[in-house]
Symmetry: C2
Subunit: 266 residues, 2 copies
């Protein structure tokens, strides 16, 4: 008899948990404990296998995100599944790459579930931009010349960026971090130069931030398009634009290779 057929099972709850940028040791202690206590684990495509291994025996594991071509679940399906599992009385952990509140749709899922009486708790995570900065030795802000940092995404149509509001990146003291940057990199760079940002502004392309396969390409705002085409990234890609990027180059050049591997492998 399936649990939901019983009369009045205790309603379960949902934890929206940030898995951080990849390696399981960059999850918070609270997130690790949540996964260790999960009865059902829904995980997206950006979550590292090592995080899934923390789930207890018997935990139902369901992949919701697509990885290179395979189909992913629609948001409505994911919501319905979480609700169904919670109504069976299960502790449901929804594990998302990075931080659930930054491009993670946490509030959409939370509002939908709460409207149906399910208690939701969110556990924050380290966002990819912080991980990239740590790995490659730069900061996202810097006293004097980088007083603000913007995290953003961009919509493209046929290679052209269709969003407006790019004036916010024109200021020389603003660091920009473009998430999901692979397809929009050139278009965003073009728009920023049109808005008046210097073509010589240092920029970095970071693929698979924080993972052992992480790599960083140094370029400039004007060189971004060519750099991304040459690098052909296949993993999650960030683009960082701003004076702070100059330091990444310096720091990496000064770091001996063995030390660099330690930083990469954690």
């Amino acid at each position: 008899m399936p649990p939901e057929a019983k009369s009045g099972p205790k309603l379960g709850r949902v934890l929206l948990v940030g898995a951080g940028p990849g390696p399981a040791d960059l999850m918070t202690v609270r997130a690790v404990r949540a996964v260790e206590g999960a009865q059902a684990l829904l995980y997206d495509a950006l979550v590292d296998e090592s995080a899934l291994d923390l789930a207890p025996r018997g935990c139902l594991k369901i992949r919701t995100g697509k990885r290179s071509g395979s189909a992913s679940m629609a948001q409505a399906e994911i919501n319905a599944l979480m609700l169904k599992l919670a109504r069976r009385g299960l502790t449901v952990v929804r594990l998302k790459g990075g931080d659930p509140s930054i491009f993670g749709r946490a509030s959409e899922e939370r509002a939908w579930l709460e409207a149906r009486g399910v208690a939701v708790e969110t556990i924050p995570g380290v966002t990819a931009a912080s991980a990239a900065a740590a790995q490659f030795g730069f900061s996202l802000t810097r006293r004097g010349d980088a007083r603000r940092v913007v995290f953003l995404t961009a919509r493209t149509e046929g290679g052209d960026v269709v969003d407006d509001g790019w004036a916010l990146g024109a200021d020389a003291e603003t660091t920009l971090v473009l998430y999901m940057a692979r397809d929009a990199a050139r278009g965003v760079a073009d728009r920023l130069m049109t808005e008046g940002r210097s073509p010589a502004t240092p920029a970095l392309m970071v693929e698979n931030a924080a993972s052992p396969s992480g790599r960083m390409i140094r370029t400039t705002l004007a060189g971004i398009g060519a750099a991304v085409e040459a690098a052909q990234p296949t993993g999650p890609t960030l683009l960082v634009i701003g004076e702070v990027c100059a330091e990444a180059a310096g720091a990496l050049a000064e770091t001996p290779p063995d030390q660099r591997r330690t930083a990469l492998a954690g």
Copy 2:
């Protein structure tokens, strides 16, 4: 005989470690291990006592940040101290509230130490904005109406904000998070309204994000000055401005008080 008097002690290293927003269980596993392995621990004022308890017996603990009036060490003193300890062969952990790459001066310290031959590793942390969003049930971005998030600080002179570049906050689809917001809140709100941001834009004041004493005040862009004056925050204070804030209000109102305490106390 002090260790540095020996001939050729092995050079130690420095780890710049993000302590996250407060509670020790919101540190990453990697950060916890770093503190557990510290021979010297330099910690700033925003670091929670519970994180310090993770240090091993015999670890030298040095507070570098000021707390309500007491003197804090100058940056040059902190740098010199880290260098001295590393030259004694010690593993030095520099524990910073939040994420070291966001308003944490990580790259300044790293560049200074690396220029003197000291190996530096940075371990990222959960930034206060992510913690506030998780605690109070909103997101920093949202599909459709909050496509970008800006983290920033502001300089004030006699209550007036002296920075420029506020046009970046005028766009209705941008979420702003002002760190160290206590003194600059009213000035920043005024500047954003001057730049054309709607006075009715939802806003939140969050004090001591993620801690059991954390509190959140709902207001609007126009109401920020009065709200901060009425609330008289004494702990670290964030100001969040944008449409996403409307959801925090909803979520909190729907959450039963006992659930709320769980979220607060972790």
